[in-house]
Protein backbone atom coordinates (compact mmCIF):
# COMPACT_ATOMS: atom_id res chain seq x y z
CA UNK A 1 0.00 0.00 0.00
CA UNK A 2 1.32 3.47 -0.90
CA UNK A 3 0.96 4.65 2.65
CA UNK A 4 3.62 7.37 2.68
CA UNK A 5 2.42 9.34 -0.32
CA UNK A 6 -1.26 9.32 0.60
CA UNK A 7 -0.64 9.92 4.29
CA UNK A 8 1.23 13.05 3.28
CA UNK A 9 -1.86 14.27 1.45
CA UNK A 10 -4.17 13.60 4.35
CA UNK A 11 -4.42 15.79 7.44
CA UNK A 12 -3.42 13.84 10.56
CA UNK A 13 -5.84 12.38 13.11
CA UNK A 14 -8.89 12.31 10.93
CA UNK A 15 -11.81 11.25 13.13
CA UNK A 16 -13.93 8.72 11.22
CA UNK A 17 -17.40 7.59 12.29
CA UNK A 18 -17.67 3.98 11.07
CA UNK A 19 -21.19 2.64 10.50
CA UNK A 20 -23.46 0.33 8.50
CA UNK A 21 -27.04 0.53 7.23
CA UNK A 22 -30.06 -0.16 9.43
CA UNK A 23 -30.87 -3.66 8.18
CA UNK A 24 -27.28 -4.99 8.08
CA UNK A 25 -26.24 -7.21 11.00
CA UNK A 26 -22.79 -8.11 9.60
CA UNK A 27 -19.85 -6.87 11.67
CA UNK A 28 -16.65 -8.53 10.38
CA UNK A 29 -16.48 -5.84 7.66
CA UNK A 30 -16.69 -3.17 10.39
CA UNK A 31 -14.01 -4.87 12.50
CA UNK A 32 -11.71 -5.05 9.46
CA UNK A 33 -12.30 -1.42 8.45
CA UNK A 34 -11.68 -0.17 11.98
CA UNK A 35 -8.25 -1.84 11.96
CA UNK A 36 -7.51 -0.54 8.45
CA UNK A 37 -8.55 3.03 9.29
CA UNK A 38 -6.52 2.98 12.50
CA UNK A 39 -3.51 1.75 10.54
CA UNK A 40 -4.07 4.71 8.19
CA UNK A 41 -3.76 7.02 11.19
CA UNK A 42 -7.45 7.74 11.76
CA UNK A 43 -9.26 7.89 15.05
CA UNK A 44 -12.32 5.61 14.71
CA UNK A 45 -15.73 5.52 16.40
CA UNK A 46 -17.41 2.25 15.41
CA UNK A 47 -21.22 2.17 15.74
CA UNK A 48 -21.55 -1.61 15.19
CA UNK A 49 -24.40 -3.61 13.60
CA UNK A 50 -27.84 -2.43 12.34
CA UNK A 51 -27.45 1.34 12.85
CA UNK A 52 -30.80 3.17 12.62
CA UNK A 53 -30.69 6.33 10.43
CA UNK A 54 -31.66 8.56 13.37
CA UNK A 55 -28.89 7.14 15.57
CA UNK A 56 -26.25 7.79 12.90
CA UNK A 57 -27.40 11.38 12.37
CA UNK A 58 -27.50 12.01 16.13
CA UNK A 59 -23.97 10.63 16.47
CA UNK A 60 -22.71 12.87 13.65
CA UNK A 61 -24.24 15.83 15.48
CA UNK A 62 -22.78 14.78 18.82
CA UNK A 63 -19.30 13.55 17.82
CA UNK A 64 -18.65 15.95 14.91
CA UNK A 65 -16.39 13.51 13.04
CA UNK A 66 -14.37 14.55 9.98
CA UNK A 67 -16.00 11.87 7.85
CA UNK A 68 -18.49 8.99 7.91
CA UNK A 69 -17.54 5.61 6.41
CA UNK A 70 -20.52 3.31 5.85
CA UNK A 71 -19.84 -0.36 5.04
CA UNK A 72 -22.62 -2.73 4.00
CA UNK A 73 -22.65 -6.31 2.70
CA UNK A 74 -26.22 -7.59 3.00
CA UNK A 75 -27.35 -6.36 -0.43
CA UNK A 76 -29.74 -3.73 0.95
CA UNK A 77 -27.12 -0.94 0.85
CA UNK A 78 -28.64 0.78 -2.18
CA UNK A 79 -32.07 0.98 -0.52
CA UNK A 80 -31.12 1.70 3.09
CA UNK A 81 -28.09 3.83 2.16
CA UNK A 82 -30.03 6.13 -0.20
CA UNK A 83 -32.73 6.69 2.41
CA UNK A 84 -30.17 7.43 5.12
CA UNK A 85 -28.11 9.91 3.06
CA UNK A 86 -31.17 11.88 1.88
CA UNK A 87 -32.23 12.26 5.47
CA UNK A 88 -28.75 13.30 6.58
CA UNK A 89 -28.29 15.81 3.71
CA UNK A 90 -31.63 17.42 4.61
CA UNK A 91 -30.57 18.04 8.22
CA UNK A 92 -31.06 21.68 9.29
CA UNK A 93 -27.58 21.73 10.90
CA UNK A 94 -25.11 22.53 8.06
CA UNK A 95 -22.28 20.74 9.88
CA UNK A 96 -24.33 17.54 9.71
CA UNK A 97 -25.73 18.08 6.21
CA UNK A 98 -22.31 18.68 4.65
CA UNK A 99 -20.28 15.94 6.33
CA UNK A 100 -18.36 13.79 3.80
CA UNK A 101 -19.94 10.32 3.69
CA UNK A 102 -18.30 7.35 1.96
CA UNK A 103 -20.32 4.15 1.33
CA UNK A 104 -18.97 0.84 0.08
CA UNK A 105 -19.51 -2.93 0.00
CA UNK A 106 -22.01 -5.27 -1.64
CA UNK A 107 -24.51 -2.57 -2.54
CA UNK A 108 -27.14 -4.77 -4.21
CA UNK A 109 -27.98 -8.46 -4.37
CA UNK A 110 -26.87 -8.79 -8.02
CA UNK A 111 -23.24 -7.68 -8.56
CA UNK A 112 -23.78 -6.76 -12.23
CA UNK A 113 -26.10 -3.87 -11.37
CA UNK A 114 -23.46 -2.22 -9.20
CA UNK A 115 -22.37 0.52 -11.72
CA UNK A 116 -25.97 1.70 -11.87
CA UNK A 117 -26.36 1.64 -8.07
CA UNK A 118 -23.09 3.54 -7.73
CA UNK A 119 -24.44 6.42 -9.82
CA UNK A 120 -27.74 6.40 -7.94
CA UNK A 121 -26.01 6.58 -4.57
CA UNK A 122 -23.75 9.46 -5.66
CA UNK A 123 -26.82 11.32 -6.82
CA UNK A 124 -28.59 10.62 -3.53
CA UNK A 125 -25.80 12.50 -1.76
CA UNK A 126 -22.83 10.27 -0.96
CA UNK A 127 -19.41 11.89 -1.36
CA UNK A 128 -17.75 8.68 -2.58
CA UNK A 129 -19.19 5.25 -3.44
CA UNK A 130 -17.21 1.98 -3.66
CA UNK A 131 -18.31 -1.45 -4.88
CA UNK A 132 -16.93 -4.58 -3.19
CA UNK A 133 -14.06 -4.48 -5.72
CA UNK A 134 -12.43 -1.50 -3.97
CA UNK A 135 -8.93 -1.93 -2.55
CA UNK A 136 -7.61 -0.56 0.77
CA UNK A 137 -5.61 2.13 -1.09
CA UNK A 138 -8.82 3.41 -2.72
CA UNK A 139 -10.22 4.22 0.71
CA UNK A 140 -6.90 5.78 1.70
CA UNK A 141 -6.98 8.04 -1.37
CA UNK A 142 -10.61 9.01 -0.81
CA UNK A 143 -9.79 10.02 2.78
CA UNK A 144 -6.75 11.92 1.53
CA UNK A 145 -9.02 14.16 -0.52
CA UNK A 146 -11.00 15.25 2.56
CA UNK A 147 -10.44 18.50 4.39
CA UNK A 148 -11.30 17.97 8.05
CA UNK A 149 -13.89 20.32 9.48
CA UNK A 150 -14.83 21.91 6.18
CA UNK A 151 -14.60 18.82 4.02
CA UNK A 152 -17.15 17.90 1.42
CA UNK A 153 -19.20 19.97 -0.93
CA UNK A 154 -22.36 21.51 0.53
CA UNK A 155 -25.11 19.07 -0.37
CA UNK A 156 -28.06 20.65 1.38
CA UNK A 157 -29.36 22.22 -1.85
CA UNK A 158 -29.05 18.92 -3.68
CA UNK A 159 -30.80 17.02 -0.92
CA UNK A 160 -33.45 19.69 -0.64
CA UNK A 161 -34.27 19.23 -4.31
CA UNK A 162 -35.38 15.68 -3.65
Amino acid sequence: MSETSSTALRPPNLHVLLTTVSSDSHTWNLVYLQLLLEELGCQVTNLGACVPDALLIDEVRRIRPDAVVCSTVNGHGHIDGARMIRWLRADPDPAVATIPVIIGGKLGIAGDRDPELLAELLEAGFTTVFTDQARPEDLDLALGRLQPGTAGRPRAALAGAR
Binding site: S25, T27, W28, V31, Y32, L33, L35, G48, A49, C50
Partner: protein
Amino acid sequence: MNAPRTSDPVAAPGGLRADLQAFVERAAARDVLVVQPRMGMTDPEAMGAGLRAVAATEATTVGTITVDSYTRVGDLTVAETAVRKGLALNGYPIATHRPEVTRAMLDRVPAAVPVQVRHGSADPRHVFEAMSTTGLYASEGGPVSYCLPYSRMPLAEAAEAWSEACYRLTEEAAAHGRRAHLETFGGCMLGQLCPPSLLVALSVLEAMFFVQRGLRSVSLSYAQQTHAVQDVEALAALGALADEYLPSGIAWHSVLYTYMGVYPRTPEGARLLLESSARVAVRGGAQRLIVKTVAEAHRIPTVEENIAALEFASRAAAGARTEECALPWAWEADYSRIHEEARALIEAALEADSDVGAALHRSFRHGVLDVPYCLHRDNAGRARGAIAACGRLVWAARGSMPLPWRENGGGVRVTSDRLLGMLQHTARTHDHAALTRRAPRARELPDG
Protein backbone atom coordinates in the same frame (compact mmCIF):
# COMPACT_ATOMS: atom_id res chain seq x y z
CA MET B 1 -16.09 -40.48 29.35
CA ASN B 2 -18.97 -38.25 30.17
CA ALA B 3 -21.91 -39.77 28.42
CA PRO B 4 -24.75 -37.30 28.06
CA ARG B 5 -27.37 -37.87 30.67
CA THR B 6 -30.38 -39.63 29.27
CA SER B 7 -33.98 -39.15 30.15
CA ASP B 8 -37.04 -41.30 30.53
CA PRO B 9 -38.23 -41.59 26.99
CA VAL B 10 -41.15 -39.27 26.45
CA ALA B 11 -43.75 -41.30 24.68
CA ALA B 12 -45.14 -39.47 21.73
CA PRO B 13 -48.80 -40.39 21.66
CA GLY B 14 -50.12 -41.04 18.18
CA GLY B 15 -49.60 -38.10 15.87
CA LEU B 16 -47.64 -36.01 18.34
CA ARG B 17 -44.30 -34.73 17.10
CA ALA B 18 -41.29 -36.72 18.36
CA ASP B 19 -39.33 -35.29 21.29
CA LEU B 20 -35.97 -33.97 20.00
CA GLN B 21 -33.87 -35.08 22.99
CA ALA B 22 -35.37 -38.60 23.11
CA PHE B 23 -34.89 -38.94 19.34
CA VAL B 24 -31.20 -37.98 19.58
CA GLU B 25 -30.70 -40.35 22.53
CA ARG B 26 -32.16 -43.27 20.55
CA ALA B 27 -29.87 -42.52 17.59
CA ALA B 28 -26.82 -42.19 19.89
CA ALA B 29 -27.64 -45.58 21.42
CA ARG B 30 -27.30 -47.02 17.90
CA ASP B 31 -24.01 -45.12 17.31
CA VAL B 32 -25.70 -42.88 14.77
CA LEU B 33 -25.00 -39.15 14.44
CA VAL B 34 -28.17 -37.11 13.91
CA VAL B 35 -27.79 -34.55 11.10
CA GLN B 36 -29.83 -31.41 10.59
CA PRO B 37 -30.03 -28.66 7.93
CA ARG B 38 -30.91 -24.98 8.08
CA MET B 39 -34.08 -24.48 6.06
CA GLY B 40 -36.87 -21.92 5.83
CA MET B 41 -39.33 -21.09 3.05
CA THR B 42 -42.05 -18.44 3.01
CA ASP B 43 -44.72 -20.65 1.49
CA PRO B 44 -46.18 -23.35 3.80
CA GLU B 45 -46.45 -25.77 0.87
CA ALA B 46 -42.73 -25.40 0.04
CA MET B 47 -41.79 -25.54 3.75
CA GLY B 48 -43.73 -28.77 4.18
CA ALA B 49 -42.16 -30.30 1.07
CA GLY B 50 -38.68 -29.36 2.37
CA LEU B 51 -39.38 -30.97 5.77
CA ARG B 52 -40.74 -34.13 4.10
CA ALA B 53 -37.63 -34.35 1.92
CA VAL B 54 -35.41 -34.05 5.02
CA ALA B 55 -37.49 -36.73 6.78
CA ALA B 56 -37.19 -39.06 3.78
CA THR B 57 -33.37 -39.05 3.47
CA GLU B 58 -31.22 -42.08 4.19
CA ALA B 59 -29.70 -40.15 7.09
CA THR B 60 -31.16 -39.87 10.60
CA THR B 61 -32.42 -36.31 10.56
CA VAL B 62 -34.08 -33.58 12.59
CA GLY B 63 -36.19 -31.15 10.56
CA THR B 64 -35.62 -27.41 10.73
CA ILE B 65 -37.91 -24.43 10.33
CA THR B 66 -35.75 -21.30 10.05
CA VAL B 67 -37.80 -18.13 10.43
CA ASP B 68 -37.28 -15.09 8.16
CA SER B 69 -35.28 -12.03 9.23
CA TYR B 70 -38.32 -9.74 9.62
CA THR B 71 -39.86 -12.19 12.08
CA ARG B 72 -36.43 -12.48 13.72
CA VAL B 73 -36.36 -8.80 14.63
CA GLY B 74 -40.09 -8.70 15.45
CA ASP B 75 -41.06 -6.60 12.42
CA LEU B 76 -44.27 -8.58 11.93
CA THR B 77 -46.02 -5.89 9.85
CA VAL B 78 -43.42 -6.22 7.10
CA ALA B 79 -43.61 -10.02 7.25
CA GLU B 80 -47.39 -9.85 6.98
CA THR B 81 -47.28 -7.50 3.98
CA ALA B 82 -44.80 -9.80 2.25
CA VAL B 83 -47.00 -12.85 2.83
CA ARG B 84 -50.10 -11.01 1.59
CA LYS B 85 -48.28 -9.93 -1.58
CA GLY B 86 -46.83 -13.40 -2.08
CA LEU B 87 -43.21 -12.15 -1.83
CA ALA B 88 -40.38 -14.54 -0.98
CA LEU B 89 -38.74 -13.99 2.41
CA ASN B 90 -35.52 -15.63 3.60
CA GLY B 91 -37.37 -17.95 6.00
CA TYR B 92 -40.73 -19.20 7.30
CA PRO B 93 -42.80 -16.40 8.87
CA ILE B 94 -44.08 -18.57 11.73
CA ALA B 95 -45.77 -15.70 13.59
CA THR B 96 -47.59 -14.53 10.46
CA HIS B 97 -49.10 -17.68 8.95
CA ARG B 98 -52.22 -18.62 10.88
CA PRO B 99 -51.60 -21.46 13.41
CA GLU B 100 -53.99 -23.78 11.55
CA VAL B 101 -51.96 -23.25 8.35
CA THR B 102 -48.73 -24.24 10.09
CA ARG B 103 -50.45 -27.16 11.88
CA ALA B 104 -51.82 -28.45 8.56
CA MET B 105 -48.35 -28.13 7.03
CA LEU B 106 -46.83 -30.09 9.95
CA ASP B 107 -49.57 -32.77 9.77
CA ARG B 108 -48.06 -33.90 6.49
CA VAL B 109 -44.54 -34.21 7.93
CA PRO B 110 -43.87 -37.64 9.54
CA ALA B 111 -44.39 -37.23 13.31
CA ALA B 112 -41.45 -39.52 14.08
CA VAL B 113 -39.08 -36.74 12.94
CA PRO B 114 -38.54 -33.92 15.46
CA VAL B 115 -38.74 -30.35 14.17
CA GLN B 116 -36.67 -27.52 15.63
CA VAL B 117 -37.48 -23.83 15.07
CA ARG B 118 -34.42 -21.64 14.44
CA HIS B 119 -34.83 -17.87 14.67
CA GLY B 120 -31.89 -15.64 15.74
CA SER B 121 -34.04 -13.35 17.95
CA ALA B 122 -32.59 -11.33 20.81
CA ASP B 123 -36.20 -11.25 22.05
CA PRO B 124 -37.82 -14.59 21.06
CA ARG B 125 -41.15 -14.20 22.89
CA HIS B 126 -43.28 -13.85 19.74
CA VAL B 127 -41.48 -16.79 18.07
CA PHE B 128 -41.99 -19.14 21.05
CA GLU B 129 -45.60 -17.99 21.34
CA ALA B 130 -46.20 -18.88 17.68
CA MET B 131 -44.45 -22.24 18.17
CA SER B 132 -46.68 -23.11 21.12
CA THR B 133 -49.84 -22.49 19.12
CA THR B 134 -48.66 -24.96 16.47
CA GLY B 135 -47.46 -27.76 18.77
CA LEU B 136 -43.71 -27.12 18.37
CA TYR B 137 -41.58 -26.92 21.54
CA ALA B 138 -37.96 -27.26 20.34
CA SER B 139 -35.90 -24.18 19.53
CA GLU B 140 -32.47 -22.64 20.09
CA GLY B 141 -30.51 -19.45 20.82
CA GLY B 142 -29.73 -17.75 24.11
CA PRO B 143 -29.69 -14.39 25.88
CA VAL B 144 -26.02 -13.77 25.01
CA SER B 145 -25.61 -15.57 21.71
CA TYR B 146 -28.59 -13.96 19.98
CA CYS B 147 -28.00 -10.53 21.49
CA LEU B 148 -24.31 -9.63 21.35
CA PRO B 149 -23.43 -10.64 17.78
CA TYR B 150 -26.36 -9.34 15.74
CA SER B 151 -28.52 -6.92 17.68
CA ARG B 152 -28.30 -3.55 19.42
CA MET B 153 -30.54 -4.66 22.30
CA PRO B 154 -28.95 -4.20 25.76
CA LEU B 155 -27.91 -7.56 27.21
CA ALA B 156 -30.01 -7.03 30.36
CA GLU B 157 -33.12 -6.57 28.20
CA ALA B 158 -32.37 -9.68 26.15
CA ALA B 159 -31.92 -11.71 29.36
CA GLU B 160 -35.31 -10.47 30.63
CA ALA B 161 -37.01 -11.37 27.34
CA TRP B 162 -35.36 -14.81 27.23
CA SER B 163 -36.38 -15.50 30.85
CA GLU B 164 -40.01 -14.81 30.11
CA ALA B 165 -39.87 -16.78 26.86
CA CYS B 166 -38.30 -19.83 28.57
CA TYR B 167 -40.93 -19.90 31.35
CA ARG B 168 -43.76 -19.57 28.83
CA LEU B 169 -42.41 -22.28 26.53
CA THR B 170 -41.95 -24.83 29.33
CA GLU B 171 -45.41 -24.06 30.73
CA GLU B 172 -47.05 -24.36 27.32
CA ALA B 173 -45.23 -27.61 26.59
CA ALA B 174 -46.20 -29.08 29.96
CA ALA B 175 -49.81 -28.02 29.50
CA HIS B 176 -49.85 -30.11 26.32
CA GLY B 177 -48.05 -33.08 27.85
CA ARG B 178 -44.82 -32.29 26.01
CA ARG B 179 -41.26 -31.38 27.00
CA ALA B 180 -39.68 -28.13 25.77
CA HIS B 181 -36.15 -28.31 24.40
CA LEU B 182 -33.70 -25.45 23.91
CA GLU B 183 -30.25 -25.55 22.34
CA THR B 184 -27.63 -22.96 23.27
CA PHE B 185 -26.09 -20.92 20.45
CA GLY B 186 -23.31 -19.72 22.77
CA GLY B 187 -20.84 -22.19 21.28
CA CYS B 188 -21.04 -20.40 17.94
CA MET B 189 -20.32 -16.76 18.86
CA LEU B 190 -19.56 -14.69 15.71
CA GLY B 191 -18.93 -17.89 13.76
CA GLN B 192 -15.15 -17.65 13.79
CA LEU B 193 -12.04 -16.47 15.68
CA CYS B 194 -13.46 -17.01 19.19
CA PRO B 195 -11.15 -19.43 21.04
CA PRO B 196 -12.82 -22.72 22.14
CA SER B 197 -12.66 -22.20 25.91
CA LEU B 198 -14.92 -19.14 25.75
CA LEU B 199 -17.34 -20.86 23.34
CA VAL B 200 -17.58 -23.84 25.70
CA ALA B 201 -18.05 -21.58 28.75
CA LEU B 202 -20.82 -19.58 27.09
CA SER B 203 -22.58 -22.73 25.91
CA VAL B 204 -22.58 -24.14 29.46
CA LEU B 205 -23.70 -20.81 30.98
CA GLU B 206 -26.60 -20.47 28.53
CA ALA B 207 -27.64 -24.07 29.26
CA MET B 208 -27.61 -23.23 32.99
CA PHE B 209 -29.68 -20.12 32.22
CA PHE B 210 -32.28 -22.30 30.45
CA VAL B 211 -32.34 -24.83 33.29
CA GLN B 212 -32.80 -22.07 35.91
CA ARG B 213 -35.87 -21.03 33.91
CA GLY B 214 -37.59 -24.38 33.86
CA LEU B 215 -36.07 -26.30 30.92
CA ARG B 216 -35.49 -30.00 31.65
CA SER B 217 -34.10 -30.88 28.24
CA VAL B 218 -31.30 -28.87 26.58
CA SER B 219 -28.51 -29.21 24.06
CA LEU B 220 -25.14 -27.47 24.10
CA SER B 221 -23.61 -26.20 20.88
CA TYR B 222 -20.06 -25.79 19.66
CA ALA B 223 -19.01 -24.58 16.20
CA GLN B 224 -16.14 -26.16 14.27
CA GLN B 225 -13.12 -23.84 14.32
CA THR B 226 -9.70 -24.09 12.68
CA HIS B 227 -8.10 -27.28 14.01
CA ALA B 228 -9.78 -30.70 14.12
CA VAL B 229 -7.93 -32.05 17.17
CA GLN B 230 -8.56 -28.85 19.11
CA ASP B 231 -12.26 -29.16 18.21
CA VAL B 232 -12.36 -32.75 19.54
CA GLU B 233 -10.78 -31.45 22.77
CA ALA B 234 -13.39 -28.67 22.94
CA LEU B 235 -16.30 -31.11 22.56
CA ALA B 236 -14.74 -33.34 25.23
CA ALA B 237 -14.44 -30.35 27.58
CA LEU B 238 -18.00 -29.28 26.78
CA GLY B 239 -19.31 -32.74 27.72
CA ALA B 240 -17.31 -32.83 30.96
CA LEU B 241 -18.50 -29.36 32.01
CA ALA B 242 -22.13 -30.02 31.11
CA ASP B 243 -21.96 -33.11 33.29
CA GLU B 244 -20.44 -31.07 36.09
CA TYR B 245 -22.69 -27.99 35.99
CA LEU B 246 -26.12 -29.25 34.88
CA PRO B 247 -28.20 -30.65 37.76
CA SER B 248 -29.17 -34.30 37.74
CA GLY B 249 -32.52 -34.89 36.14
CA ILE B 250 -31.68 -32.62 33.21
CA ALA B 251 -31.43 -34.49 29.91
CA TRP B 252 -28.89 -33.06 27.48
CA HIS B 253 -26.78 -33.72 24.42
CA SER B 254 -24.14 -31.76 22.53
CA VAL B 255 -24.37 -30.50 18.97
CA LEU B 256 -21.61 -29.50 16.57
CA TYR B 257 -22.02 -26.86 13.85
CA THR B 258 -20.08 -27.28 10.63
CA TYR B 259 -17.78 -24.27 10.13
CA MET B 260 -19.74 -21.01 10.24
CA GLY B 261 -17.16 -18.54 8.95
CA VAL B 262 -16.12 -17.76 5.37
CA TYR B 263 -16.86 -21.00 3.49
CA PRO B 264 -14.77 -22.70 0.76
CA ARG B 265 -15.81 -21.60 -2.73
CA THR B 266 -15.20 -24.92 -4.49
CA PRO B 267 -17.66 -27.82 -4.01
CA GLU B 268 -14.72 -30.12 -3.24
CA GLY B 269 -13.34 -27.76 -0.59
CA ALA B 270 -16.80 -27.40 0.92
CA ARG B 271 -17.23 -31.19 1.10
CA LEU B 272 -13.82 -31.64 2.74
CA LEU B 273 -14.80 -29.17 5.46
CA LEU B 274 -18.19 -30.86 5.99
CA GLU B 275 -16.49 -34.26 6.13
CA SER B 276 -14.03 -32.96 8.71
CA SER B 277 -16.88 -31.61 10.85
CA ALA B 278 -18.70 -34.98 10.77
CA ARG B 279 -15.53 -36.70 11.98
CA VAL B 280 -14.99 -34.12 14.72
CA ALA B 281 -18.61 -34.57 15.85
CA VAL B 282 -18.27 -38.37 16.14
CA ARG B 283 -14.80 -38.40 17.68
CA GLY B 284 -15.61 -35.53 20.06
CA GLY B 285 -18.80 -37.23 21.29
CA ALA B 286 -21.43 -34.85 19.85
CA GLN B 287 -24.75 -36.53 19.05
CA ARG B 288 -26.03 -34.07 16.45
CA LEU B 289 -24.51 -32.04 13.60
CA ILE B 290 -25.86 -28.91 11.89
CA VAL B 291 -24.53 -29.16 8.34
CA LYS B 292 -23.51 -26.70 5.63
CA THR B 293 -23.78 -27.28 1.90
CA VAL B 294 -21.57 -26.83 -1.16
CA ALA B 295 -23.59 -23.70 -2.04
CA GLU B 296 -22.79 -21.98 1.25
CA ALA B 297 -20.22 -19.48 -0.11
CA HIS B 298 -22.60 -18.38 -2.85
CA ARG B 299 -26.27 -18.35 -1.81
CA ILE B 300 -29.07 -19.93 0.26
CA PRO B 301 -28.96 -23.68 -0.54
CA THR B 302 -31.75 -25.56 -2.30
CA VAL B 303 -33.56 -28.53 -0.69
CA GLU B 304 -31.57 -30.90 -2.95
CA GLU B 305 -28.25 -29.39 -1.86
CA ASN B 306 -29.33 -29.75 1.77
CA ILE B 307 -30.31 -33.41 1.28
CA ALA B 308 -26.98 -34.12 -0.44
CA ALA B 309 -25.12 -32.49 2.47
CA LEU B 310 -27.12 -34.46 5.09
CA GLU B 311 -26.46 -37.81 3.40
CA PHE B 312 -22.79 -37.01 2.77
CA ALA B 313 -22.28 -35.95 6.41
CA SER B 314 -24.09 -39.04 7.66
CA ARG B 315 -21.81 -41.33 5.62
CA ALA B 316 -18.71 -39.41 6.77
CA ALA B 317 -19.89 -39.81 10.38
CA ALA B 318 -20.25 -43.58 9.97
CA GLY B 319 -16.74 -43.69 8.49
CA ALA B 320 -15.37 -41.78 11.48
CA ARG B 321 -16.25 -44.76 13.71
CA THR B 322 -13.71 -46.91 11.84
CA GLU B 323 -9.94 -46.96 12.24
CA GLU B 324 -9.49 -45.06 8.99
CA CYS B 325 -10.10 -41.81 10.87
CA ALA B 326 -6.86 -40.36 12.24
CA LEU B 327 -8.56 -38.12 14.82
CA PRO B 328 -8.37 -39.07 18.51
CA TRP B 329 -11.53 -40.01 20.42
CA ALA B 330 -12.62 -37.61 23.14
CA TRP B 331 -11.29 -39.94 25.85
CA GLU B 332 -7.87 -40.05 24.15
CA ALA B 333 -7.61 -36.29 23.69
CA ASP B 334 -5.93 -34.10 26.28
CA TYR B 335 -8.69 -31.59 26.83
CA SER B 336 -7.40 -30.39 30.21
CA ARG B 337 -6.38 -26.96 28.97
CA ILE B 338 -9.69 -26.01 27.32
CA HIS B 339 -11.52 -27.58 30.28
CA GLU B 340 -9.54 -25.56 32.81
CA GLU B 341 -9.88 -22.29 30.89
CA ALA B 342 -13.61 -22.71 30.33
CA ARG B 343 -14.10 -23.72 33.96
CA ALA B 344 -12.27 -20.59 35.15
CA LEU B 345 -14.57 -18.42 33.01
CA ILE B 346 -17.73 -20.19 34.22
CA GLU B 347 -16.64 -19.93 37.87
CA ALA B 348 -15.77 -16.23 37.51
CA ALA B 349 -19.12 -15.53 35.89
CA LEU B 350 -21.10 -17.42 38.54
CA GLU B 351 -19.30 -15.47 41.27
CA ALA B 352 -21.05 -12.31 40.04
CA ASP B 353 -24.56 -13.54 40.87
CA SER B 354 -26.41 -16.74 41.70
CA ASP B 355 -28.89 -15.93 38.95
CA VAL B 356 -27.23 -16.88 35.65
CA GLY B 357 -28.99 -14.08 33.74
CA ALA B 358 -27.65 -11.39 36.09
CA ALA B 359 -24.27 -13.18 36.24
CA LEU B 360 -23.94 -13.03 32.44
CA HIS B 361 -24.86 -9.37 32.32
CA ARG B 362 -22.42 -8.38 35.07
CA SER B 363 -19.62 -10.53 33.72
CA PHE B 364 -19.81 -8.89 30.32
CA ARG B 365 -20.03 -5.44 31.85
CA HIS B 366 -16.82 -6.04 33.81
CA GLY B 367 -15.03 -7.80 30.95
CA VAL B 368 -14.84 -11.11 32.86
CA LEU B 369 -16.42 -12.49 29.69
CA ASP B 370 -15.29 -10.71 26.52
CA VAL B 371 -16.09 -11.99 23.01
CA PRO B 372 -13.28 -11.22 20.55
CA TYR B 373 -14.22 -8.81 17.73
CA CYS B 374 -17.78 -8.35 19.05
CA LEU B 375 -18.85 -4.70 18.65
CA HIS B 376 -21.92 -4.77 20.92
CA ARG B 377 -21.70 -2.01 23.51
CA ASP B 378 -22.22 -4.43 26.40
CA ASN B 379 -19.11 -6.35 25.32
CA ALA B 380 -15.75 -5.00 26.56
CA GLY B 381 -14.14 -5.64 23.17
CA ARG B 382 -10.59 -5.96 24.46
CA ALA B 383 -10.05 -9.66 23.74
CA ARG B 384 -8.59 -10.94 20.46
CA GLY B 385 -8.49 -14.44 18.97
CA ALA B 386 -5.90 -15.50 16.41
CA ILE B 387 -4.87 -18.57 14.41
CA ALA B 388 -1.47 -19.84 15.50
CA ALA B 389 1.07 -21.30 13.06
CA CYS B 390 -0.04 -24.83 14.02
CA GLY B 391 -3.62 -23.99 12.99
CA ARG B 392 -5.03 -23.84 16.51
CA LEU B 393 -7.19 -20.94 17.61
CA VAL B 394 -5.49 -19.03 20.45
CA TRP B 395 -5.79 -15.84 22.46
CA ALA B 396 -3.89 -12.87 21.01
CA ALA B 397 -5.34 -10.61 23.73
CA ARG B 398 -7.31 -11.69 26.79
CA GLY B 399 -8.72 -8.36 28.00
CA SER B 400 -9.81 -8.72 31.64
CA MET B 401 -10.78 -12.38 31.43
CA PRO B 402 -9.42 -14.51 34.29
CA LEU B 403 -7.73 -17.11 32.06
CA PRO B 404 -5.40 -19.35 34.05
CA TRP B 405 -2.70 -19.62 31.35
CA ARG B 406 -0.29 -16.82 30.61
CA GLU B 407 1.29 -17.58 27.21
CA ASN B 408 -0.71 -18.43 24.12
CA GLY B 409 -1.10 -15.95 21.31
CA GLY B 410 2.63 -15.30 21.44
CA GLY B 411 2.18 -11.56 21.07
CA VAL B 412 0.42 -11.79 17.72
CA ARG B 413 -0.62 -8.30 16.63
CA VAL B 414 -3.90 -8.46 14.72
CA THR B 415 -3.58 -6.05 11.79
CA SER B 416 -6.22 -5.54 9.10
CA ASP B 417 -4.23 -7.72 6.67
CA ARG B 418 -3.78 -10.46 9.23
CA LEU B 419 -7.46 -10.36 10.18
CA LEU B 420 -8.47 -10.83 6.53
CA GLY B 421 -6.04 -13.72 6.24
CA MET B 422 -7.43 -15.39 9.37
CA LEU B 423 -11.05 -14.90 8.29
CA GLN B 424 -10.25 -16.65 4.99
CA HIS B 425 -7.84 -19.25 6.41
CA THR B 426 -10.26 -22.19 6.57
CA ALA B 427 -11.83 -21.52 3.16
CA ARG B 428 -8.39 -21.13 1.58
CA THR B 429 -6.83 -24.25 3.12
CA HIS B 430 -9.82 -26.44 2.17
CA ASP B 431 -10.10 -25.09 -1.37
CA HIS B 432 -6.37 -25.67 -1.75
CA ALA B 433 -6.45 -29.16 -0.22
CA ALA B 434 -9.32 -30.09 -2.54
CA LEU B 435 -7.28 -28.94 -5.55
CA THR B 436 -4.33 -31.05 -4.53
CA ARG B 437 -6.71 -33.90 -3.64
CA ARG B 438 -5.64 -34.54 -0.11
CA ALA B 439 -6.94 -33.74 3.34
CA PRO B 440 -5.29 -30.72 4.99
CA ARG B 441 -2.73 -32.69 6.96
CA ALA B 442 -1.97 -30.33 9.81
CA ARG B 443 -5.65 -30.19 10.68
CA GLU B 444 -6.15 -33.92 10.91
CA LEU B 445 -3.23 -35.01 13.02
CA PRO B 446 -2.51 -34.34 16.66
CA ASP B 447 0.32 -31.82 17.05
CA GLY B 448 3.63 -33.51 17.65
